[in-house]
């Protein structure tokens, strides 16, 4: 749920070296398991549907854990606790939306996407947009918009992987990037989404275990949450105010973007296609919410814990906020716990990268040809080829300057939100939405996000405190969607096929 923001923080954290025997051993075991799962999955992948949506054959538990895994990224472990250490409780407004987003996604998207997959054999999110609006143009524009976001996400994930692998194995940043992307590419290209899903299950489990262990360690070390709060309140009461050191507008803005925006994150909503039995959706939100709560315990625990330990003199002051988790792990917790968390961070970045490689490949070899009225003959072979190209491009981009790559990642979340949420989440539930409204909304989201983010990056424009490009683009995209749909409402009814209408009315 916090991908691009957190990856940028992770990139700039430049983790200290953790290359100790226990950390290297746990890291080596982690990579061995990933490779083993990938070999198994490659043997089971025979068709394009296997490659891109696992042949709609994933069970409830596996899909839930995999979805948790791709939803959090390395931010939950490094950038988030660091942000919390810096700004206090206001940083929680990035993760608090998890209390509603999973059920919101289930009500708004899960059933309809899964049933559309059943009726039409859809394999991508732009596929659903094309089917809903009977529009290859909308499908193609959505695909192009998503590619912009994926380029950013992939480059930041590649660099974040390099940072973590370098920290574990001390191989240098450049080699870390190539090793991480090489392994991710190997399982993405050979086993497609099936390898991705089962690696996500392993990686998500590792992340949850590491998070819970660190959370309870922090509580124990600090004498309980009450004692930790007392220590912080004595030194810095504003830290535990409801907005922390953010303005109310900034904190609430986080909540808006990360709640509504969750409905447009393709790495999460794409998973709805894959559930073996649509009726298993019944328990999906409950299980995913519980999983997310477990993975996010570390975010809160380390954020408040390190603040209290530094204030009490039990830890040295941090060189930078992003050192909160690494400093705690390397100086306070048992080394095995540190090893688990470092592997967990590698897991988070690899699972996100795999998911985006797969989604990007599907857009290039499926959605864009459909937009131009063509179909590729051997989608599986093309899928594997494009996967290699995307991974190589991401690794090469990741070798550029850190600030440039961080910038590329920053707009990923907002771009997906502003281009997909109105068209997909509202469009699949409101028969008044029109093709023109969808195309106008996607275009608005793409143009406004890119223009505002580039202007902010080049410092030619400064937002007022608490306002972000993502929030402005999302609101504008919504309003354009409703306005253009209203103006063109006479065409609304004619743009829905009978099977799509049936799914929308259920």
């Amino acid at each position: 749920m916090t991908g691009s923001l957190g990856l940028s923080a992770l990139i700039q954290a430049s983790l200290p070296s953790a290359a100790q025997p226990a950390v290297i051993a746990v890291g080596a075991v982690y990579f061995a398991v990933v490779i083993g799962i990938s070999v198994w999955a490659a043997r089971k992948t025979r068709t394009a549907a296997d490659f891109f949506v696992a042949g709609k054959g994933i069970g409830l538990i596996a899909l839930t854990v995999a979805s948790v895994s791709v939803s959090v990224s390395g931010f939950a472990f490094i950038g988030g606790p660091g942000l919390m250490y810096a700004v206090g409780l206001g940083a929680m407004f990035i993760v608090l939306p998890a209390s509603v987003t999973n059920v919101m996604g289930a009500w708004v998207l899960a059933k309809r996407l899964r049933l559309l997959g059943e009726a039409r054999g859809l394999i991508t999110i732009p596929d659903a947009i094309g089917a809903r609006y009977r529009s290859p143009a909308a499908q193609g524009i959505a695909g192009v918009a998503m590619l912009f976001g994926i380029v950013g996400y992939m480059a930041t994930n590649a660099l974040a992987m390099g940072v973590v692998i370098n920290s574990i194995f001390d191989v240098g940043l450049g080699w870390g990037i190539w090793i991480g992307m090489g392994i991710t590419l190997a399982y993405s290209a050979s086993g497609g989404i099936l390898a991705g899903i089962y690696n996500d299950v392993f990686q998500g489990t590792l992340m949850a275990v590491a998070s819970v262990l660190v959370f309870f360690f922090v509580l124990d070390f600090g004498g309980g949450l009450g004692e930790i709060s007392r220590t912080i309140l004595a030194a810095d009461p504003a830290f535990l105010g409801p907005w922390g050191k953010l303005t109310p507008l900034a904190a609430l803005s986080f909540f808006f973007v990360f709640s509504m925006g969750s409905l447009g994150q393709p790495q999460a909503v794409h998973k709805y296609y894959m559930l073996r039995d649509p009726l298993q959706l019944k328990w999906y939100p409950l299980l995913k919410t519980l999983g997310l709560v477990l993975v996010l315990l570390l975010y809160f625990g380390v954020g408040v814990g390190v603040k209290a330990f530094v204030e009490a003199g039990r830890m040295a002051p941090l060189a930078s906020p992003d050192q909160a988790t690494p400093s705690l792990l390397l100086n306070v917790t048992p080394i095995v716990l540190a090893a688990l968390v470092f592997s967990g961070v590698a897991a988070a970045t690899m699972s996100a990268a795999n998911s985006f490689i797969n989604i990007g490949a599907a857009i290039v070899m499926h959605d864009l040809p459909v937009a131009f009225g063509r179909r590729l003959k051997n989608e599986l072979a093309w899928g594997r080829g494009v996967t290699v190209l995307i991974a190589a491009a991401a690794a090469i981009t990741a070798q550029q300057s850190g600030s440039m790559v961080a910038f590329l990642g920053i707009f990923g979340w907002g771009l997906f939100a502003s281009t997909l949420v109105p068209t997909l989440a509202v469009g699949l539930n409101w028969q008044g939405a029109t093709r023109a409204g969808a195309i106008a909304s996607i275009t608005t989201g793409l143009v406004v996000t890119l223009a505002l983010e580039v202007a902010a990056y080049r410092k030619t424009f400064t937002f007022p405190a608490g306002v972000t490009a993502s929030a402005v683009a999302l609101v504008l995209s919504f309003l354009v969607f409703f306005s253009v749909s209203w103006v063109t409402r006479r065409t609304a009814a004619s743009s829905i096929d009978p099977d799509v209408r049936l799914v929308m009315e259920m």
Partner: protein, 154 residues
């Protein structure tokens, strides 16, 4: 409700660009607009034809009110955190409202409401079969060239 709440959020953001600084009412618009926008989009997704949202109106109202009250309480309660503050489950009052009220209550209520109403409000085996049956019919018609091919046209 979705359009109105999003318009309120848009006004709050627009007001932040005022040269005189962010007006005091802007956070209030977000504090009320966000819960209503979330509630509205959930209602849109959960509405099942003429059946509406049925018993889901209770959990939806609960969540909208909980979020709105939580945000507004955080805005209106005085900033009185100190070393002597009363703690609720280990946190000062305003922090506890945010973490437990906004972060935990909906976590418990919404997924359980979704599961308990799944068959009546969301999906049944008959629904799945209706979709499969219609898809089979369209596929058969296409293969026999009886009807226009459904799917993207422009």
């Amino acid at each position: 409700m979705l359009v109105i709440s999003l318009s309120g959020i848009a006004v709050a953001y627009a007001s932040a660009f005022a040269t005189s600084g962010i007006p005091g009412w802007a956070p209030w618009l977000l504090a009320v607009g966000i819960p209503f926008a979330i509630g509205a989009i959930m209602i849109l997704g959960a509405t099942r034809g003429r059946q509406g949202i049925g018993p889901l109106k209770v959990p939806f109202a609960f969540v909208v009110v909980t979020l709105a009250l939580g945000f507004c309480a955080a805005l209106i309660l005085p900033a009185a955190e100190s070393a002597n503050s009363t703690l609720w489950l280990g946190l000062p009052v305003r922090a506890a409202i945010v973490i437990y009220g906004i972060g935990l209550f909906p976590t418990i209520v919404l997924p359980i409401a979704y599961a308990l109403t799944f068959e009546s409000q969301t999906l049944t085996a008959e629904d799945v079969e209706r979709v499969r049956s219609l898809a089979r019919g369209i596929e058969q018609s296409e293969s026999e060239g009886i009807v226009d091919q459904p799917g993207p046209t422009s």
